[in-house]
Amino acid sequence: MLKINKLNTYYGESHILKDVSLSVGQGQVVIMLGPNGHGKSTLLKSICGLVEKIDGRILYDGQEIAGLPSEKIVNLGVTYIAENRELFPYMTVKENLKLGAYARSARASEKKNMAWVASLFPKLMQRHNQMASTMSGGEAKMLAIARGLMSDADLLCIDEPALGLQPSYRVEISKIIREISKQGKTVFIVEQNIPQLIEMADKIYIMEEGAISFEGKKEDALNNEQLREIFLGL
């Protein structure tokens, strides 16, 4: 589904990602762990065409997407769900969702997806006329995920879905991600330490200082004392 080969990314003068290679299989849930500020978000942004200077290969469904503009990548079925949500603050929930289906590839299935999203986030739909800027952190995060789903993407790149949320929301988000995965979508999550999410991972990567320092099954990670302590927050 997604194959990355020797990806390097730069912000101005600083070299963020260093020779990152990884792969995400169809229908899998892959989680990348690692401390903040070590390039996890940059990796997702690079995949989704939101970083200007990248070097390396990113293959999605066998097609090279490195360097494509973000709108093309969205059209191919890859969506980024941002850590800081990036909602449209002066639009209602419904308008935000509608714009989630802006990509040409998503327009046909807009109605279907809207219904799906409504069933996943019943609370959100109760307040579909509320301005995004007036929502609390947890609700906004839900909306961001819901908006991402509207794009009809097959690969969802979710950046810190549960960061800073109360446990009740974390549980809910874990459930939703499980639901998404059941629908056959591929999910690539970047996280710090959410046990509930790690539970469902098919594969775990750990990134430190812009490079992959661990790749393996969740059992391996859980059995590794050092990793447990530092990254899994256990």
């Binding site: 503009p69 973000s70 709108e71 969205v74 449209f88 603050p89 002066y90 990509a103 794009s151």
Partner: protein
């Protein structure tokens, strides 16, 4: 006395519609791209010269119909290129807003004196779209003013409708509110930037054609237009279309009534004082967001 006030009120309405026409493009561009276009007045004049060139030396068939028809692609291309060639490359600097102001200031100088060297320093007049007056009771109106009023108000309403009810309009708003978010959902941000410039250039070009046929094509008039548009935009709230519509009519009325009651010489200072006070109290303007 009552009749007089009605007269002044109508004068204010007409002023307001003219100002709305002047300012809406500037507001739009600022709202979406956060680029302040100091060369705005020069594009207004470009509209005037465009119409003059087609109507007088080229005597195009179809008169104003052809002018308006041809203006759409012409100004779209001009505005699009302007953004792509001059503004977009600046975005990579962190003080790009400043640089845009500087660049467009230089551009306006270049364009204004470009007109002078090509068309000469004298003003040019355009044939009027429509002549004659309409009498409603004792009030006499120019048909020309009515046309401008209707076109400008309906243009604004129509534009507002497009912005709020079409997919593209929503995309434009999305970019205005959160460019990064827009990119995430697959809105081609750079294209929207350029397209917004193009649309605003079409609007200012139309404004130029309409107002220059009422008044004149004045090669030096662009600074005045820029300042007027600027005052309205800042007063109404940078980037708020509705705000500038209100501001245009408030200022139009203010001008008419101050001019009538206190004398024309006080108009400019009254307008600018109002602006300064507004900015000091509410820097984001009437309807602007922080």
């Amino acid at each position: 006395m009552f009749l007089e006030i009605v007269d002044v009120f109508i004068s204010g309405l007409i002023n307001g519609s003219v100002y709305a026409l002047m300012a809406v493009g500037l507001t739009l561009v600022y709202g979406v791209t956060k680029a302040f276009n100091f060369a705005y007045g020069s594009f207004y004049n470009l509209g005037g010269y465009f119409a003059w060139l087609l109507l007088i030396p080229l005597t195009v068939v179809g008169g104003y119909y052809s002018v308006f028809f041809l203006a759409v692609p012409f100004f779209f291309i001009v505005g699009y290129l302007l953004e792509k060639v001059l503004i977009a490359p600046l975005r990579k600097y962190d003080d790009w807003e400043m640089k845009v102001m500087m660049l467009t200031l230089g551009l306006s100088l270049f364009m204004d004196f470009g007109y002078q060297s090509v068309f000469g320093p004298r003003i040019k007049s355009l044939p009027s779209i429509i002549d004659g007056t309409v009498e409603i009771g004792k009030v006499v109106l120019f048909q020309q003013d009515i046309v401008i009023f209707i076109l400008s108000v309906s243009g604004m309403l129509c534009f507002g409708w497009v912005l709020n009810n079409t997919r593209t309009g929503m995309a434009v708003q999305a970019v205005a509110q959160n460019p990064a978010g827009a990119q995430i959902v697959g809105i081609p941000k750079d294209f929207i930037f350029a397209a917004t410039f193009a649309i605003s250039t079409i609007m200012v070009g139309f404004g130029g054609i309409l107002l220059c046929q009422k008044n004149f094509v004045d090669p030096m008039g662009s600074t005045d237009i820029m300042i007027k548009a600027w005052v309205i935009t800042a007063f109404g709230g940078m980037g708020s279309i509705r705000g500038s519509l209100y501001a245009a009519f408030i200022l139009g009325m203010l001008e008419a009534f101050v001019g009538w009651y206190f004398g024309m010489i006080h108009v400019q200072i009254a307008t600018l004082t109002l602006l300064l006070v507004t900015l000091a109290i509410r820097p984001q303007g009437l309807m602007g967001r922080e």
